[in-house]
Symmetry: C2
Subunit: 216 residues, 2 copies
Amino acid sequence: MRKTVTIEPKQKRSQRTRERIFRVAAREFAAKGLAGARIDEIAARARINKERIYAYFGSKEEMYRDVLVACYAKAASNQRLQTLTSADIPHMTGIIIDTFFEIHRRNPEFWRMLAWENLDGGKSLRARDWESIRGAYIRPLEALYGEGQTNGVFRPEVDFNTYVMLLFAATYFYYSNRITMSRLLNLKLQREEVRRQVEAQFLAILDGGMAASRQR
Amino acid sequence: MRKTVTIEPKQKRSQRTRERIFRVAAREFAAKGLAGARIDEIAARARINKERIYAYFGSKEEMYRDVLVACYAKAASNQRLQTLTSADIPHMTGIIIDTFFEIHRRNPEFWRMLAWENLDGGKSLRARDWESIRGAYIRPLEALYGEGQTNGVFRPEVDFNTYVMLLFAATYFYYSNRITMSRLLNLKLQREEVRRQVEAQFLAILDGGMAASRQR
DNA sequence: CAAAAAAACAACCATATGGTTGGTTTTATG
DNA sequence: CATAAAACCAACCATATGGTTGTTTTTTTG
């Protein structure tokens, strides 16, 4: 058991190698999940020896966790999501839907990693990891939603959690279940034009349903 | 290669054995997916010899496909879904949401099999299989929705596919992403009382957003 | 009940898999 | 430029895996 635990490799070559392994691993894990991913395959595609993987990452599980954290962080780092202000409140639902769609479009591994994680019982991440993800993902939205409720833009009886969950559900589902839904409904959800149409209709429903002025 | 292809086993013992294997396999595949499921594990849990699995089902993949089809069919066979009438149109959104939640509550393997399938690229089922799933799942709803649109109950600019997709997305997501969402939002989505609250709020938003009378 | 057919099983096989070891090459630095 | 540390690699290991085979046990039926 060699306990090198190279947290910060000193050599540039190794830096590059590590990154190359990481990129390949991310693709592999997103594609096949923790159980389905093959160490040999990752090594071959990264054009390195298996042993390097264990030197850099310790084990398959640890490498998986690293990939997972990085994937969530990258998705949450979205520009628009992080720069919302009070001025956006009136159109917030539309902006969030559009931003969530954009996050999924730009990070094709995101929904996959989430899906694997949920199927796996969510045992890969620690409470601390979630704390930071929560900070990155939720903080930009929570305060603004409260403000919107106070100002009478959003219905007071719908709480923030439900709101985020429904918006995220719609966009996540569009990607995560594209294949089965396309077959079930005879649609071509891969097409960007279809996606835009669906987005417009999702917005029509969700914005309409959220507006406080439309309360009974 | 023994080509018995026992489509309809003559013996009662074998009938029971086959069913036992099938039940165990369904649990195993739902839990771990096609790649993660272990033939040895299924054999052990069903208290039979591995060879029986190959005699009855041919291969791992074929058995998986059988399980998948049965799982979709079972979910679609839901009583309330299959007995909707024109009289239900005014409260259709609420009924569908409630029914979809019920389907997931009663078939814990359903969302899992769907999730595995989407991650896997949806290569397990043939067009014919989808044809029949489509019939069972969609037929009861499509006509009624059209009727609702004609009668001015539903917004004319939101089409049926989007409507079903959004309702299904909300309920599916609640189950499929329960674990990660609970951690992200500091909630306890496993609790039935929380689920009921969320359902009520989903309904408030979606019903509000669908009603034609609330159009701008 | 005897013989044939079906069901069941123990043992086996080739290959794949996550992980390790001991030695060789490359790189930075005194 | 010598040398030690880091990076790298070929070969190896134990175990697990999907799938098969030859034989024995159980069930059905003339």
